[in-house]
């Protein structure tokens, strides 16, 4: 048993195609990859919203003016 479909390199490479593990599961891998990507945006959006909301409440006028001086 080999996850890449070959347990020996005693082969003619002209007849060898893909050698990554779990060939035939490409669609499943893409689905997992896309879930990872979409989840990243979701987590990041939610966290950023919370941070911005918190930051919005932090600044009184004097503080904001002082921060503006920093450029």
């Amino acid at each position: 048993m080999s996850t890449i479909g070959y347990d020996s390199w005693a082969v003619d490479l002209a007849e060898v195609g893909p050698v990554y593990p779990f060939q035939g599961s490409e669609v499943i891998m893409v689905v997992l990859g896309v879930i990872f990507w979409i989840m990243w945006h979701r987590i990041q959006y939610v966290r950023e919203s919370a941070h911005l909301e918190e930051a919005r409440k932090m600044g009184d006028k004097d503080k904001v003016a002082k921060v503006m001086e920093r450029y």
Binding site: S2, S8, W9, L13, Y20, F36
Partner: protein, 421 residues
């Protein structure tokens, strides 16, 4: 650059010199004995055949091959490629011990990790004839273990003896963050590391070779790129997988560290390191997910170890290199289970047990143990750590005061000239 950026302003000149001098010290010792070790030690393990002096003969420093020789125009190039990896291993250790180790102590460690221990592990597990490849089916195409796990393990051994920087832990043991003095320098430094890492990937391959030159079991006439074990891969694979594992690492690190810049950048590196053992064969999406999983594990492990054992790993090198390397080796054992480790007959195939044993050898036996042992000796002799007064004052004034003195003198002269007007 990364290490200097991470240090505080009063230590940056010392930090720079500490790291730069690794280059000549590891270079000359790698010429004297490091390169010979690689060729003579593939089976230098009990029961495996011992040191092969005949195989190493061409690589002794007195060999005619180790010089200008029109019968051998390439040995110096291979020597330099491996030497780059030696510098890297030593430099990884250097980062974790900043601001409190004596340069003289670190430079001995640099020679030992750069020209002895890592090259022994390369002979054992990163050589077509290495006993770990033959017996364990050890597979580590782009050095998760042979450079990163060993260097991280070595750094862990040293910092366990060295102790934390003053102020790193509060009286109740709570760790404090010591921010870098220059985040921009740190950023450029880590992007240079990414770039160098990509070059390293390319240097780990034979770009194209005929099967009859490999002299293994591959039949037919189709030329191929190979990994360090002379087993087939493709340049396309490493390009896909390097970038996808970098991206998976960055994305996971951003989330797990809640957007911390330092950890996000380091996570990109940890992602590549985790996927590196199998990046010659992985599918790009596998490389991305392996990287992401690795980063989550090493980030949490770093803070758990820091809290539990009060260890100060200044740049996270033990985690980013050591833990990521170990995790990457073990994951590769599962994902590549049953794949041939070599084109030669009779070698064990890749398997989780062989990879786990390999990780223990890299991180523990050849990394942690020698680092801890030498640091213990240095500590007993009182030559490991700088005095507390010097640490508080900053190493730049204590050791590199010529620059500070000259600066003070010229500022005083300018002020006197202004006052005289």
């Amino acid at each position: 650059m990364y290490e200097v950026g991470a240090s505080r302003r009063r230590n940056h000149m010392h930090t720079l010199m500490k790291n730069v001098m690794i280059i000549p010290l590891v270079t000359v010792t790698f010429f004297f004995f490091g390169w010979w070790i690689y060729w003579a030690f593939p089976n230098a393990f009990p029961g495996m055949g011992g040191i092969d002096t005949a195989a190493g003969a061409s690589f002794t420093p007195w060999s005619e091959n180790m010089g200008t020789n029109l019968q051998d125009r390439i040995t110096g190039v291979f020597w330099a490629a491996f030497l780059l990896f030696s510098w890297t291993a030593a430099s990884i250790v250097s980062g974790s011990v900043i601001e409190r180790i004596r340069s003289s102590a670190l430079w001995l460690h640099a020679v030992m990790i750069g020209s002895v221990w890592w090259i022994i592990d390369a002979a054992w597990g990163w050589h077509w004839d290495g006993w770990m490849v033959k017996v364990l089916g050890y597979h580590d195409a782009y050095a998760s273990g042979v450079i990163h796990a060993i260097a991280g393990g070595y750094a862990l051994g040293v910092i366990m003896v060295l102790g934390p920087r003053l102020g790193k832990f509060a009286a109740d043991g709570t760790p404090r963050d010591i921010p870098p003095h220059n985040p921009w320098m740190l950023t450029i430094g880590i992007f240079l590391i990414y770039t160098g890492f990509w070059g390293f990937y390319a240097a780990c391959n034979v770009p194209v070779i005929a099967p009859e030159v490999i002299d293994g079991q591959i039949v037919g006439t189709t030329w191929t790129a190979t990994n360090i074990y002379l087993a087939p891969t493709s340049l396309s694979a490493i390009t896909f997988n390097f970038l996808m594992s970098l991206s998976g690492g960055l994305m996971a690190a951003y989330v797990v560290s809640k957007g911390d810049a330092f950890w996000t950048f380091s996570g990109g590196l940890a992602g590549i390191i985790t996927a590196s053992a199998g990046n010659d064969l992985y599918h790009p999406i596998q490389a991305m997910l392996v990287a992401a999983v690795g980063v989550v594990i090493v980030y949490n492990l770093h803070y758990w170890v820091e809290r539990k054992f009060k260890l100060d790993d200044a740049v996270g090198a033990v985690a980013v290199h050591g833990y990521a390397g170990v995790v990457g080796l073990i994951i590769a054992g599962f994902l590549l289970w049953g794949a041939p480790s070599s084109p030669y007959e009779g070698y064990a195939t890749i398997n989780p047990i062989g990879q786990t044993i390999g990780a223990v050898i890299m991180f523990g036996l050849l990394g942690w143990l020698p680092g801890w042992g030498l640091a213990k000796i240095q500590s007993a002799m009182g030559v490991l750590r700088i005095p507390e007064e010097v640490e508080l004052m900053g190493l730049d004034y204590a050791e590199h005061h010529a620059y500070e003195d000259a600066k003070s003198e010229i500022i005083a002269a300018d002020k006197a000239a202004l006052a005289a007007k």
